[in-house]
Amino acid sequence: MLTVSNLHKYYGDTHVLKGIDIEVKQGEVLSIVGPSGSGKTTLLRCMNYLEKPSSGQLSINKVDIDAKHVSKKQIHTLRQQSSMVFQQYNLFKNKTALENITEGLMIAKKMPKSEAEEVAESFLKQVGLSERKQAYPNELSGGQQQRVGIARAMAMNPAVLLFDEPTSALDPEIVGDILAIIKDIAKQGMTMVIVTHEIEFARSVSDQVVFMDQGEVVEKGKPADVLVHPSHERTKRFLKRIHQEPDFII
């Protein structure tokens, strides 16, 4: 379904992705964890070409791309195979919740307005925001915005859903709600790649976990192997540090 082979990314002289290989099967959930600056978000953004990989091959839903020889049209086709949920939600600020969802359907998918609105309303209902469909992003809380972000991504009916730290910008008490929604979607058999700091969530939702550090895949496998009984020293150190982080209650 989704394959990344020997993917490299340079920013100037800095080598931020050093030959990444990943494979995700139909209906699988892959979580990418790792310390800040490990390149996990960059890797996710390369998957839909929001970042341009320096070299390597990408394949999503039978759309194959070689980063060395790629046309604008190929990029556009590749992007239509996936959709992204952003850390900062990135809802269109000049559009209502409903329009945020219909926009892609009408413009990119050329769906008639009435049909697009029907689709949008059903997805808003699924994330529990039907009654706020006429609200602009500025009128919604962070959690509500992210729910619209998820509905927008799902409405595009992508082959793969990409999540870029979907709960990192949220208040702690909202995080659980959003994770529950994502888990629900996973249960529906959606193929997903999730970059996250929520180790417990990654353990429970994923079929496969990748641990990245300094632009490399250090370890990958079943969540119980990677996150509970890691075999690499770097993974152990990372997990230990995460578990030591105290929850401050003031």
């Binding site: 839909n48 992204m84 000049n94 892609g104 500025n138």
Partner: protein
Amino acid sequence: MAGIDLQFALEQVPKILQGVPYTLLVTIVAMIVGLVIGTILAFFRIYRVPVLHQLTVLFVSFFRGTPLIVQLFVFFYGLPMLILSLNDTFQWGLNPDIMSPLVIALIAYSINSASYLTEVVRSAIQSVDKGQLEAAKAVGMTTFQGMYRIILPQAFVTALPNLGNHFIMLIKASALAFTIGIMDVLGISRVIANDGYRFLETYLVAALIYWLLSIIFEIILARIEKRARTFEGRASNTA
């Protein structure tokens, strides 16, 4: 030295008002054409299009760095000559008279206006969060669609105060068009003043008309801005 002849001043009002359509024509055309050209040039700068980017920098620098009245004169004498030389070079049969003073004024003001608006539009587009265009691409839109439907509408709202200032400035700057013979508010006033030797009364009437125009458009622009900002400001009303 007589005082102000109020009677005379009042009699001139309807005559001078006949210049308002020309004042507005120059202002509105310069605003719209300037905004269209300015937006295109802003993209040359943002995307650093080779050659066009450098030419835009040069264009902006020249037209912001020289007096408008000098530009008017250069266009006034230069454009008909340009047509003649084009006819010579390409054997075209263009009539140089299509460059009437009004057409020349419209061209000159539009280009001058574009040079200012390039920077206004550029900074407004760059102030829109980068994530907006990324989200547009992520839902399958092309860069052009994302710009047109998501970025530009937001940039327009950011730019509105500057665009409004520019419009008010244009109303007043349009008065310089009398120098190439346009019968706008000031052009007509000059004729009346010279005929009747009533300079002060006539120019006071002209000043009041310009002031009134500015006030009317300030009110209109404030309304447009309030309306355009619904997506940022409604939160406090509905919470």
